[in-house]
């Protein structure tokens, strides 16, 4: 009798967590895929099966294609800037002193603040008439920009906000990665009279590659899901220039009540995020362990 209890115990212990995951993560995904083949306005008692109609309609929709393009553009710019700048910054700031800790803390601080705060703050900084950013430009004799109000600059403005928020996090993750490189290795390289650039390219970069992959993927996935800044700062405008996937799904689901159609867009997001995740795990298992 006790041996049966012993055997059931592990299942009982993981059960609560797994119930939550199945109920709120795994089942909804199946449900969403199911809904994407239907037409439903949320209020009507009937869901009409429409096959691939939602997908067909979506792929024919110019707005959706623009949304995809916006998402991709936003993601690529954010990831390149946020991880590309973070690495040199990490190498520059990687020292253990009170001053360095202060600098690291300062650049990290936006990461722990609500995106609502950040969005409101930057809306004000980017105010086309009285904003601080235009004030700065004025100091250098540059004529003011319209930032979020101009379809040409709105998406880039959002990228700036995203980079400002995530730069510190990326830098600190890089620093953690740098500090996990055994110092003996760097000392050995110095004794071998390796030039700094060579040390970086042949030693530091390969040792840092797991961290780099991690950050790129996390930033990619995160950027594809951007919502808060758009909802608060631009509502997808002007003229859809900042409309991205999650906001698009949100609008179709909660403003136009086209549940099936929104679900189909959700499935597209699922495919993108899933692919990125798989690539990450594939790369992780294949080439990145020096430790």
């Amino acid at each position: 009798m006790p041996s049966i209890l012993n055997r059931l115990r592990p299942y009982a212990m993981v059960a609560p967590a797994l119930v939550v995951f199945s109920l709120f993560y795994l089942y909804p995904i199946g449900y969403m895929i199911h809904l994407s083949f239907h037409e439903w306005n949320f209020i009507s008692p009937v869901k009409t099966y429409v096959g691939l109609n939602n997908y067909r309609e979506m792929l024919a929709d110019d707005t959706f294609l623009q949304v995809l393009r916006n998402s991709a553009l936003y993601t690529v710019m954010t990831v390149l800037l946020a991880t590309g700048t973070a690495l040199p910054l990490a190498i520059w700031l990687n020292r253990k002193s009170a001053f360095h800790a202060f600098v690291q803390g300062a650049i990290f601080s936006p990461h722990i603040i609500s995106l609502v705060s950040i969005s409101l703050l930057w809306s004000w900084l980017m105010d086309p008439e009285y904003g601080l950013l235009n004030g700065l430009l004025h100091l250098f004799g540059i004529s003011p920009l319209k930032w979020l109000n101009d379809p040409g600059t709105a998406l880039v403005s959002l990228v700036i906000v995203a980079v400002w928020k995530s730069l510190g996090y990326n830098t600190l993750v890089f620093i953690a990665g740098l500090q996990s490189i055994p110092p003996e290795l760097l000392e050995a390289a110095a004794l071998d009279r390796s030039k700094p650039w060579t040390t970086f390219r042949r030693l530091i970069l390969p040792m840092l590659s797991p961290t780099l992959f991690f950050l790129v993927i996390i930033n990619l996935i995160g950027s594809f899901q951007v919502f808060e800044t758009i909802a608060i700062m631009t509502q997808g405008g002007p003229i859809n220039s900042t409309n991205t996937l999650v906001y698009y799904i949100y609008e179709y689901g909660f403003r136009f009540f086209k549940i099936g159609y929104a679900s189909a867009a959700g499935v597209i997001l699922l495919i993108i995020v899933g692919t990125l995740t798989l690539i990450y795990f594939r790369l992780l298992s294949r080439r990145v362990h020096y430790r």
């Binding site: 939550v20 709120f24 603040i113 703050l121 004794l191």
Partner: protein, 302 residues
């Protein structure tokens, strides 16, 4: 890093017995001091890029409305207008928002602790058929963001008549794949002898978990708790989707809503509200910077 390298290279130079004339050495020393100063100055400039926006937020929150409409902008208001904070606070049921935020964040944290400790313990300690599959399931949810499943979850919660309740904001986060992953890692590092000693002391399994293993994993639990609390305290997306009623909405939603009640251009009031939302978190951050940074960066180094 660059400073490090310079130091190391000069140390090697000296070790090799290269002696330079006094004048050259002196010039070098001056150059190095200047470089050091320039380096520090650049870092301070970097700090400004992150500190100035917050300073600007504070400054604006103390201005009169006309003062916000001066171009080029001015930093110091003629007379600080503290009443902006009162206006912001009275523009909505902020006490309710605050309370809701607290109930939701703490509620999530408690449920998470209840679910992740046993799960992580079972995954770390026992061998059982299907363990690999179940753990794979946990890891899969680690990669599913809320932004992906909000629509079907909304429909489910609507069916269960749970929209506009605290439960709608708490239940979906009642467990955490990230937490299970972290804690399992920590449990696996605990010395086997301690568990054996406890078994010889006739301790039942739950006691080994709660009295021996959990206290040993306390740093990880604290780290995770900080991460979880801050994440849900700040969350805007989920409460926005799951609630429409003021009575269930949280602080970030309330702050964002001021724009509608007080008008888009009342930046002084908006920034006052923003200070109320951001500054407590920032203060907490500077009080426990090391812990909080570790909490967030942990996931990146594994």
């Amino acid at each position: 890093m660059s400073m490090n390298d310079a130091g190391r290279r000069s140390a090697i130079g000296q070790a090799a017995g290269v002696r330079r004339p006094l004048a050259v050495r002196r010039i070098r020393a001056v150059l190095e001091a200047m470089l050091f100063a320039a380096n520090r100055a650049c870092m301070l400039l970097l700090v400004c890029a992150f500190a100035l926006p917050f300073a600007w937020m504070l400054s604006t929150s103390l201005k009169t409305l006309p003062e916000t409409m001066i171009f080029p902008p001015e930093w110091i208001p003629a007379e600080p207008v503290w009443s902006n904070y009162a206006v912001a606070w009275n523009s909505g049921p902020f006490l309710t928002y605050l309370l809701n935020s607290f109930i939701v964040s703490v509620g999530i944290l408690i449920l998470q602790m209840l679910t992740i400790i046993p799960a992580a313990y079972a995954f770390a300690r026992f061998r059982f058929p299907g363990k690999g599959l179940l753990f794979g399931l946990v890891m899969a949810t680690l990669m599913i963001p809320a932004q992906l499943i909000f629509l079907p979850v909304y429909l489910m919660l609507s069916d269960w008549k749970l929209l506009n309740t605290h439960l709608a904001l708490i239940l979906p986060f009642a467990s955490s794949a990230f937490g299970i992953f972290l804690l399992r890692q920590s449990f696996m590092q605990t010395a086997e002898e301690l568990i054996e000693a406890a078994r010889l002391d006739n301790a039942p399994e739950w006691k080994i978990m709660l009295r021996i293993m959990a206290p040993l994993a306390r740093p990880v639990l604290v780290t995770f708790a900080l991460f979880s609390f801050i994440t849900h305290w700040n969350d805007y997306f989920w409460p926005l989707v799951m609630t429409t009623n003021e009575s269930a909405r949280t602080l970030p939603l309330g702050i964002a809503k001021i724009r509608e009640t007080e008008g888009t251009a009342t930046w002084n009031v908006l920034m006052a509200a923003n200070v109320m939302l951001a500054v407590p978190v920032l203060l907490a951050f500077f009080a426990a910077q090391r812990q909080i940074i570790r909490a967030f960066v942990y996931s990146g180094v594994k």
